[in-house]
Amino acid sequence: MSLMTPEFKLISEWITPNSRVLDLGCGDGTLLEHLIDTYDVTGYGMELDPTKNIQAMQKGLNVIQGNLNNLDLEDYFDANSFDYVIMTQALQVVGRPDELLEDMLAIGKEIIITFPNFGHWRNRAQLLLKGRMPKTDTLPYQWFDTPNIHMCTFNDFETLCEDKDIEVVARTVVNTEHRTSFGMRLAPNWLGEVALYKLQRKSDT
């Protein structure tokens, strides 16, 4: 069953109508369908999983089956061919998040990324007090069997952006219910569970 999650609603608020969108790891296409129906965007979804591919195709979407780990996005798409390249909850599962970010920025004018915060206080507490790898609602996996191979904190991510001359255009930090709070705005890297980032190349580079 496709569901418009609060995260998707927050992303939608960042999208300009009639823009051109690429949704990497589009799943069953819920977000892309919503953006097409509500904002008249055009574009493509990209998804590796065959079942999700079929589900997205049933929605009448243009879906390209591809593996983000061994696909050269720049080979498929020209520079700046999209207004937005979106990737939700997939940064931590790819082989080289840093390289993928570069690729996304090459083909999209702006990119929108969401990922879980490894620096959330619950994760820190589990490691500090129990000496065990964290297991939470956002990160429910065992360390030896997890798709999340490249976890980072919001601070780590922003350091990477800084090093790569990537500008953070907008950031929203929320909890798992996708609500924000005063505390999350004050100490996002402690209290935020999920972050939504809108990024672009720094204009002076």
Partner: protein, 386 residues
């Protein structure tokens, strides 16, 4: 629930005006043999054309008079991925074929003798031009979709480039934008096998009341090899032998040899495939290169197309590997075209495009839903077939 189509009677369209071919030769007249399944709706908006592969023909679904099922029967019928309750499905035997359409086995009206090697070379473009006459003949202004695998997929590409406004969707399966040197080389070996058979008689074997069976069988064995994957042959035959003890002879010892010989034999004798048709079809494949007319720029070539595309490839297909489909997808993406692409996991190599497969069928059903949606929403224009 799916339902079988029953016995299908082929039909013939006769065109009595000359057709100028890509080679410059002129066919004074020609027939196209075709089959149809399902009903054409009132505004003729639900018609699909299926394009067949190298050794295929117009009998794609249902049963023929001998009770033989069509080559894609598992995909076409009531309740099947290509649903004949919703679509009017057409498939024609290519010009130059040997299953009813005018070809090397037809009598040349100018000489009164069978064409044989005198039948002019045909190209993918010629096929598309002749099929366009069939479109008019059937009163169809625009195909809801064109669907083809392998050589058929190339025909679909050609259609989308040459008659962009005559199709809404193009389903290009297990195809390539042109043949590679390796592809051409395989075709050439197949042709040499046929042409060096003592019974070939420079193509006039029908006049000599014989057929180059050995050559044709060898050509088929080679072709068949390129349709299978190494993995699949390994799991199907491995090094399995017919008998336990080695014979140290050139008789059939390994099961894979037996299988290949059987395939070759069946093709050359039981299926009675015409050797000249085989030669023609392989040449048409070799010549296929639509981008040649656009500075060898595939992006520019496909900028002609206005159809929406579904491109499908199979992981173990090495004849037209996924990378070849990527070329097509990339060119379509460069044009901001509506395109979907699926890379189906299958161990069956190139042959996979003909076989049942859950992912493949799921993709098909999902995409055909889109084709149906578009044909239902199309506004009925006053111009029926021109």
């Amino acid at each position: 629930m799916t339902q079988e189509l029953g016995i299908i009677t082929p039909q013939v369209m006769s065109i009595e005006s000359p057709l100028t071919l890509s080679s410059g030769s002129v066919l004074p007249r020609y027939d196209l043999t075709f089959e149809t399944y399902g009903e054409l709706n009132a505004d003729a908006s639900n018609a699909l054309l299926i394009c067949h592969a190298l050794s295929g023909n117009h009998h794609v679904a249902g049963l023929d008079v001998d009770g033989k099922a069509g080559w894609w029967n598992s995909y076409i019928g009531s309740g099947k991925p290509i649903d004949t309750d919703q679509f009017f499905v057409v498939c024609s035997n290519n010009l130059g074929g040997c299953h009813g359409s005018t070809g090397p086995t037809t009598t040349n009206p100018e000489t009164g003798k069978v064409y044989g090697p005198d039948f002019p070379m045909v190209t993918c473009k010629d096929w598309v031009n002749s099929q366009n006459e069939l479109r008019k003949h059937l009163g169809i202004d625009q195909w809801a979709a064109l669907i083809g695998g392998s050589m058929g997929g190339m025909q679909v590409l050609q259609w989308s480039i040459n008659y962009p406004d005559k199709l809404r969707h193009a389903l290009v399966i297990a195809a390539a934008p042109k043949l590679s040197a390796q592809n051409i080389a395989f075709n050439e070996v197949a042709r040499r096998a046929i042409m060096t058979d003592p019974d070939f008689h420079e193509g006039r074997f029908i006049e000599h009341s014989t057929t180059p069976k050995q050559g044709l069988a060898q050509a088929r064995m080679l072709g068949h090899l390129t349709y299978l994957s190494d993995d699949m042959m390994g799991s199907k035959f491995g090094r399995e032998r017919r008998e336990t003890d080695l014979k140290y002879s050139y008789d059939v010892e390994f099961q894979v040899e037996s299988y290949l010989r059987y395939q070759g034999e069946k093709f050359a004798t039981k299926q009675n495939f015409d050797a000249n048709t085989y030669l023609l079809m392989t040449k048409a494949l070799d010549y296929f290169d639509p981008a040649a007319e656009f500075n060898h720029d595939l992006t520019k070539t496909l900028s002609q197309a206005t159809a929406k595309f579904l491109v499908v490839s199979f992981t173990t297909d090495w004849r037209f590997a996924p990378a070849r489909s990527h070329e097509i997808v990339k060119a379509l993406l460069d044009n901001d075209a509506d395109v979907s692409y699926a890379e189906v996991t299958s161990e069956h190599g190139h042959d996979a495009f003909l076989l049942p497969n859950d992912h493949y069928m799921g993709i098909f059903r999902a995409y055909m839903k889109r084709v149906l949606h578009d044909s239902l929403t199309i506004t009925t224009t006053s111009e029926a077939a021109k």
